[in-house]
């Protein structure tokens, strides 16, 4: 009985170590897998992905500092641990001493770590958070582009205000799968020019405000190249803001970063980061009424 138990534990350990030590599949190529039939831009290697946002370098800096700091702590504590194992191993003629050590070095290194962590939090993270999350352009700010994003199992919907710049009314009772996923009230004069798309288009160099909400469960709006990740919660409207760099033109992916059901993995959308001109052209194209469909024309 005990033997089988041991064998089981060993098997699990062997399996785990095999999987942990095996090189990750993604590390083989740096480009994102071509999963949607569309070429995705950006580098996605073992390090941080391409950053196309204006605030992103600050987040990357915090991530870098934390990693270096953790590496120093890991190596330092690890070396000390190994030293203690060897230096204070059981030997004949030695007695265990249960009294604590009163050394200045250990005390000051502890204080040093605490101070460094405080600096990380107060000096870097909090100002960054304040900038990214608190300084959001107002709803009527004409310099910003406002986009309403609705998550649902398992898709993202993007809504633009259209030429008049004002969002029309919407309500759950108008929701219709396929033709009206965001429940727009087309009888509202402000709503008849609203644009709803399954693609996320944004211009570069312009502050974007995204209002996030969800139709069903909690999702998370995650755009790694924009260094944006925010939960979407049903019944709540959560704003986030960012600006894409002028050099960031390309096609990227929006993902859901919150396990939301059995097809969570396929909850993605394409993000087209465009120059203002290309974006305006797309808006005009997307704003046209849907074409009449006649299947006889197809074959």
């Amino acid at each position: 009985m005990r033997f089988t138990k041991m064998l089981c534990i060993l098997a699990v350990l062997a399996w785990a170590s095999f999987h942990l030590l095996a090189p990750p599949v993604q590390a083989q190529g740096s480009a994102a897998p071509d999963t949607s039939g569309v070429k995705i831009d950006g580098e996605y290697g073992p390090f941080l992905p391409t950053d196309i946002s204006e605030h992103g370098y600050k987040i990357d800096r915090v991530i870098d500092i934390v990693h270096v700091f953790m590496a120093v702590l890991f190596v330092g504590w690890g070396a000390f641990f190994v030293y203690c194992l060897v230096r204070f191993r059981q030997k004949p003629g030695h007695q265990a001493d249960p009294h604590e050590v009163k050394a200045k070095v250990s005390k000051w290194s502890e204080i040093g770590v605490a101070v460094f962590e405080a600096v990380l939090l107060i000096g870097f993270s909090m100002p960054l958070w304040a900038e990214v999350r608190a300084e959001i352009p107002a709803d009527d700010d004409p310099n910003a582009l406002h986009v309403k994003v609705l998550g649902e199992q398992f898709a993202w919907n993007f809504r633009y205000a259209g030429p008049d710049g004002i969002f029309g009314r919407s309500a759950a009772k108008f929701v219709k799968d396929g033709t009206n996923p965001m429940g727009l009230d087309r009888s509202d004069p402000h709503g008849d020019d609203d644009i709803v798309s399954g693609e996320f288009h944004i211009p570069t160099g312009k502050p974007i405000v995204v209002q996030l909400t969800s139709k069903d469960v909690i999702h998370s709006f995650s755009v790694p190249v924009l260094r944006i990740k925010q939960d979407t919660i049903p019944g709540m409207r959560i704003p986030i803001s960012f600006t894409a760099k002028k050099s960031g033109v390309g096609t990227y992916e929006v993902a859901c970063a919150q396990l939301c059901g059995n097809n969570h993995y396929s909850m993605r959308a394409l993000m087209y980061v465009q120059s203002q001109n290309d974006f305006d052209a797309w808006l005009i194209e997307a704003g046209k009424p849907p074409e009449e469909f006649d299947e006889d024309d197809l074959d």
Partner: protein
């Protein structure tokens, strides 16, 4: 125990059915006609569906159309497609055999084919994926099991086979592509049809008698129509579906 009891029932019903169908076949009774749209047709326009969420959908079909209302505006009178026409009453307690051939439901171009269909209780329903993408089929019935499974790979051979109990038409949707939907009606008899591109239906083999048809449409709702058919005859029945 349960098994043997079932076998006996199956054999017994099979025997009764065999007699029933041969008799009905001999009579060659048919009801056929079209479902005519009565209302303001300009209100219903079929447009292209936005499938940009998954670019792989376009790999199978260039574009797909909305399906909530499909009117055939090319003929006069205007007819309605995808109306599920079935015999609602008049069959008394007759029992009918379950066909051995399965009904196939294919996901292709990120839409369901067929979009509306009938199937007999216990008849096999084979669900296939013809796309290079993942579909998650999700049944939304009242009585049947809420089937909910993924078909992540293109599979036009094996697919997944299920059977259903009799139930009024219910919706089936895809959880990956929110625009994807279809409807299934499950019957205890084989007398049902779905109106085609020209809005036509044809049901035969029910035997002489007086019956009530039920017409079901996913947007317009239901209505009924009575008809009588004599032995060896065909009844032509054009039905006006009034839409407010």
């Amino acid at each position: 125990m349960r098994c043997s009891k079932n076998t006996i029932t199956v054999i017994a019903t099979g025997f009764i059915l065999a007699i029933g169908t041969t008799a009905a076949m001999a009579e060659k009774t048919t009801v056929r006609g079209k479902v005519i749209f009565k209302g303001n047709a300009a209100k219903f326009k079929r447009t292209k569906l936005d499938t940009s969420k998954d670019p792989k959908c376009k790999m199978s079909k260039k574009s797909i159309g909305t399906y909530d209302v499909i009117l055939n505006k090319k003929t006069d009178p205007i007819t309605i497609r995808n109306v599920l026409v079935s015999i609602k009453s008049g069959l008394a307690d007759r029992v009918f055999p379950t066909p051995n051939t399965p009904v196939t439901l294919t996901q292709y171009g990120c839409e369901y084919d067929p979009h509306v269909f009938g199937i007999m209780e216990g008849q096999e329903l084979k669900i296939l994926n013809g796309d290079e993408t993942n579909h998650n089929i999700h049944f939304l019935p009242k009585n049947n099991d809420q089937y909910n499974f993924s078909q992540p790979k293109k599979d036009l051979e094996k697919g997944k086979t299920i059977t259903l109990d009799a139930e009024a038409p219910f919706r089936v949707k895809c959880d990956v592509h929110p625009w994807m939907g279809c409807h299934i009606g499950v019957f205890k008899h084989p007398f049902y049809d779905v109106t085609d591109k020209l809005g036509k239906f044809e049901i035969s083999g029910m035997g002489a008698g007086s019956y009530t048809l039920e017409l079901w449409h996913e947007t317009f709702g239901t209505m009924t129509a009575d008809f009588t058919v004599a032995k060896g005859q065909t009844t032509d029945l054009d039905i006006e579906f009034e839409v407010k």
